[in-house]
């Protein structure tokens, strides 16, 4: 295959990727978009093998490809729905590592003689790829709760991070000016450390935003590696991801009401707010039993369910669906109220509930459902907290102030299913828990729901 044909095929792949992104941004076209992207990627691999007759070690290359593909495939198939964000983070990290390794190998195989521009691109690829690698792995560990999800603030952390950042930059410039492999290795190590330092102080809630940002980073790193390897395809693909990833990060941050810049250093404020949250524990709340809740539901006409992160943690979507089916059978009107940032990733609730085969028309978005709370007899809040916290409307100091919330406080009666009086993601207490019309059913959401279902059946 001549290089012209390879180039044309590369262009076709680029077009596939553009169409993939376009498709992915519309609900109806998303799945096909992803498939077009996958087809493009397969084509890219085939063309790479077919167009370069000088490739050696072919059996080894094929084996490595097969091993990687199988690992990726199995990981993607086996992961639980709730663990998807961290898996994406991990995939992103290894992508960054790949780009960094390419830069390293390319340099080792004679890159010292390249132009300064190529050298700069090599250094950029290695630096950003390494940061993205360790940063992503760390977000994985956090989300997987292999380390604490709380922000980890080292003593003088800000200072250390800045220092390492500056040293890394200096060593990068140094490498471009007087390239040696030792310098490149050093740069990689520094960048790996930097990735860890940057992500350590990020609080649990900001983690998805950071994943998205690191995703954009990897894209840019891939684009730079394309410049090093003289591959238009890699430049286009990497840049597409870099640009759309940056925009996506901004949109995600906006949807969650987090200023993007503060995100990276949000740890400092988060701690202070966290302490204030425990104040309310002394005040009295009304806790109730599964039987109480079952009776309350049995006499309701209209019930609205507000799922939140706790539903995902407890994997209670199936139990919830069972409850809703029971209520519907009894002729009670039920709807799910989906807040745009309920859970820990956008669309989290939709994914979860879709997994439990909840029909799409029962899911109502915030704007649609908010006027209905007024006429609802019972609102059941299953593992949600921040998205129903009236402080967003009233308390200017609250970190969620200004975020639109679900108007659960307008319902006739409110039931919270949670395990304790601990606050949600934003770390602030929720006045609604102390409201006289609110009752709390303590316990794991799945257990509680199962008990309520049992009690309801026994009625």
């Amino acid at each position: 295959m001549t290089s012209t044909w390879a180039g044309l095929a590369g262009l076709a792949v680029s077009v596939c990727f553009i169409l993939a992104l376009k498709g992915l941004s519309g609900p109806k076209t998303a799945r096909n978009g992803n498939l077009i992207g996958a087809a493009g990627a397969v084509l890219a691999v085939i063309v790479t093998f077919a167009s370069d007759s000088h490739l050696e070690h072919l059996p080894l290359l094929y084996s490595a490809l097969a091993v990687g593909s199988l690992i990726g495939w199995f990981a993607a198939r086996q992961v639980k729905m709730t663990a998807m964000p961290q898996l994406v983070a991990l995939f992103n990290g290894v992508g960054g590592a790949t780009a960094a390794l390419i830069a390293l190998i390319e340099y080792l195989s004679g890159g010292a003689g390249e132009t300064k521009l190529i050298l700069a691109a090599t250094v950029f690829t290695a630096l950003v790829g390494c940061v993205s690698f360790t940063g992503s792995v760390l977000t994985f560990l956090k989300l997987q709760e292999l380390i604490t999800t709380r922000p980890i603030v080292l003593p003088a952390g800000r200072f250390i991070t800045s220092a390492v950042g500056v040293i890394t930059l200096i060593s990068a410039v140094d490498m471009v000016v007087t390239p040696t492999s030792a310098r490149l290795y050093l740069l990689c190590v520094l960048s790996l450390v930097l990735g860890v330092l940057v992500v350590l102080p990020v609080g649990g809630a900001d983690v998805p935003i950071v994943i998205s940002l690191l995703n954009a980073f990897t894209g840019l790193s891939v684009a730079a590696s394309g410049y090093v390897l003289d591959s238009v395809l890699l430049i286009v693909a990497g840049t597409l991801v870099g640009a759309s990833g940056t925009l996506l990060t901004r949109m995600m941050a906006k949807a969650m009401g987090r200023p993007l810049l503060k995100t990276m250093f949000g740890a400092f404020t988060a701690v202070a707010v966290g302490t204030a949250a425990t104040d309310g524990v002394e005040r009295s709340v009304r806790s109730s039993s599964p039987d109480d809740v079952a009776i309350m539901l049995a006499y309701a006409q209209k019930v609205i369910i507000v799922p939140g992160y706790g539903l995902a943690v407890a994997q209670a979507q199936h139990a919830l669906r069972e409850l809703v089916d029971l209520l519907t059978e009894r002729g009670i009107g039920v709807a799910y109220a989906i807040h745009p940032v309920a859970g820990r990733m956008p669309g989290h609730m939709n994914v979860l509930l879709a997994e439990a085969n909840v029909p799409y028309d029962q899911l109502k978005e915030m704007d649609e459902v908010n006027p209905e709370f007024r006429s609802a007899d019972v609102a059941i809040v299953v593992g949600a907290n921040d998205v129903v916290n009236p402080a967003a409307r009233t308390d200017k100091t609250a970190p969620i102030f200004g975020m639109p919330i679900l108007n659960v406080d307008e319902a006739n009666q409110v039931v919270f299913l949670k395990r304790s009086m601990r606050p949600g993601f934003a770390g602030i207490s929720n006045e609604l828990l102390y409201d006289p019309r609110t009752s709390l059913l303590f316990g794991d959401a799945k257990d509680s729901l199962t008990k309520v279902v049992g009690a309801l059946k026994a009625l």
């Binding site: 941004s25 490595a64 990981a75 898996l87």
Partner: protein, 104 residues
């Protein structure tokens, strides 16, 4: 000139990257992120090239590791995105949409 052409490609790609996703609804943020993540997995082709031209064993081993990692990124990324999107199957108001499409 060549450098300018590549730079132009870069700039144009930035615009496309911004434009195509500028009106995505927040529900699709996660699958979109995951799909974009899969797309940069195509970096595996770069890994194949450098590994296939490795000049010593260090380079070869590093290259093979790069292929494995890149393939994980690419294959895993597309598969996991597809799994997510499978959950979003039915459009919200199938009836209304169908009637609109049915018109000639």
């Amino acid at each position: 000139m060549d450098g300018i052409a590549l730079l132009t490609i870069f700039v144009l790609s930035v615009f496309i990257g911004f434009e195509v996703i500028s009106k995505v609804s927040s529900i699709l943020h996660t699958p979109l992120m995951s799909g974009a993540n899969a797309i940069h997995g195509v970096v595996v082709v770069g890994a194949i090239v450098v590994a296939g031209h490795a000049q010593d064993n260090v380079q070869l081993v590093l290259g093979l590791v790069a292929i494995v990692l890149g393939a994980i990124n690419m294959v895993g990324g597309f598969v996991v995105t597809d799994r997510m999107l499978k959950m979003f199957t039915a459009p919200k108001k199938p009836a209304a949409d169908k009637s609109r499409e049915a018109r000639p």
